[in-house]
């Protein structure tokens, strides 16, 4: 497991409008988007979040707009992974595609508090908070293939070179 980092806890149905407000959708470079991460909900988030921190959230994280700008902003600000009870479909795919690890682990979500320390094993989907270990759900074979490739860009690049 990696060294401990801080949990940033959010509630249910966190929509992509608050993760990355619409007025910034004409931007696309990660560093530009990262500067506005979570601005719709908490303008201080980018100053509080430290490299390697973990977002923990409730149900349906990333609901609403398909904007990939949202997971790009979260990744750019240095968040290591997101653990939620469940994810909105498009957000989940977008995160996997850009190499932002996302895990479903309702047990962890129910147990932890904002600001607690967490240790993470990204490869195993294993988390440790307060000495208690939590195992996230595993991925489908297809999704695992994209994760193993490092995201959809290298996945497609490999597919194209094979053909």
């Amino acid at each position: 497991m990696d060294q401990t980092t801080t949990i940033h806890l959010f509630g249910d149905h966190i929509d992509t409008d608050v993760i990355l407000p619409g007025k910034y959708l004409n931007l696309f470079r990660p560093e530009e988007l990262g500067a506005h991460c979570m601005e719709g909900l908490d303008p201080t988030f980018t100053t509080r979040a430290q490299l390697g921190d973990v977002i923990v959230a409730g149900k349906n994280f990333g609901t609403g707009s398909s904007r990939e700008h949202a997971p790009i902003a979260i990744k750019a600000v240095g968040i290591r992974c997101i653990v939620a009870e469940s994810f909105a479909r498009i957000f989940y795919r977008n995160a996997i595609n850009i190499g932002l690890p996302v895990f479903e682990c309702p047990e962890l979500v129910a147990a932890v508090q904002n600001g607690q320390q967490v240790r993470v094993d990204l490869e195993k989907g294993l988390f440790e908070v307060n000495g208690v270990q939590y195992q996230a759900k595993t991925f489908s074979a297809y999704v695992q293939g994209i994760i193993d490739a490092g995201g959809l860009v290298p996945f497609v690049r490999a597919q194209l070179s094979k053909n």
Binding site: K23, N26, K59, T63, P71, R93, N97, I98
Partner: protein
Amino acid sequence: MGFTMTEKIFAAHSKSGKAVSGEISVLTPDVVLLNDTSGSITVNQLKLMGVQNLFDPAKVVLVADHFSPPKDVTSAESIGLLRNFGNKFGIKNFYESGRYGIEHALLPELGRVGPGGLIFGADSHTCTAGALNAAGVGFGSTDLAGVIATGELWVKVPASIRIDLVGEPGQYVTGKDIILSLIAKIGVDGALNAALEFGGPGLVNLNIDERMAIANMAVEAGADTCVFECDEQVLQYISKTGWANQAPVAPDHDAIYLNRHVIDLDNIGPLVAAPPSPANGVSVAELVGTTVNQVYIGNCANGTITDLRQAAQILKGQTISAEVRVIVVPATSAIYQQAAREGLLEIFSASGAGVSLPTCGACFGGHMGILAAGETAISTTNRNFRGRMGHAESKVYLANAWVAAAAAITGKITDPATIYPELGRGFL
């Protein structure tokens, strides 16, 4: 074992010829749709993928509608980037606001949506296509870069929730109220990872515009996609647009559903969804008197000619409240021209409302009607999330065009029946 409409459309577009809910299928869509906000990332990812040729440029449709007309230099650059991408790769289908319109309203007009079709769009409201017995599925930019590069994309085939519509909608009730009522019932994740399928004897009472308003907000219940049954109205619509790709799909009688709901249209009144969730729909009566600073009639859900006729019915010969700004946004140029022919634009302008060219505009907080802290809008759009149309401390109430137009006159949320007891559905 029978199949749902979603399974049938997916199966007809799948590599294996099969699509069963819960399983992974690899699909090739009829249309791949990008806009000026999602497109910049897609173009960038295609570069990183090392793509030299697109699988089929004729299937790619590029619509500059979000920050169109460009609100600033950055927006002009992203629209230019989309246009240049199209030129470089031989994509002839480039459309820009002013000459065309908002992507989900435009695609059906162009004959790119019709029965049995499969539309992949880098926009969550791609599900609007469901009104025409097609399946529209929203994705992010990188997924669509993948499909543009290879012609295929994986999906987990959703199970379907069947909605049977019965009865007839009342005086000031529209498609908007039907979908707000459903989302209030099942919640914003009530159809998460599922498809919504609509049919039933009440369908005949809803025109295509109203079905689009319903399909558009399927994603607000978390749905992957939405498919309406095909009927005479759909066939008549596509006979004018030139769609001829596939045969209509109907659900098998023994199709397996996750869940079934019956919506009795007689029991629905005009609803308003209070911020910050589209699931907060309540009877307009409960919110009557709420002060609004802006009325917005438009967007990909409710900027149709039907919506404009409803709004004009209320605003004709009236003067809007001095306390509100009113913005009317026809969803496409064809709708704009139709509204002009019918004299609707003159009615709006004479009442004090501003008419914009087709654009996603303020719906997503982009431009053309942004709210300040403490301001409130009533809007025919599809999302009322915190800060959706501007400042994080602004508010958006979602409603149909009749209800929105009534607020334009009074400056407060108002039941249109209290202004015009004699107008509404039967008088359009």
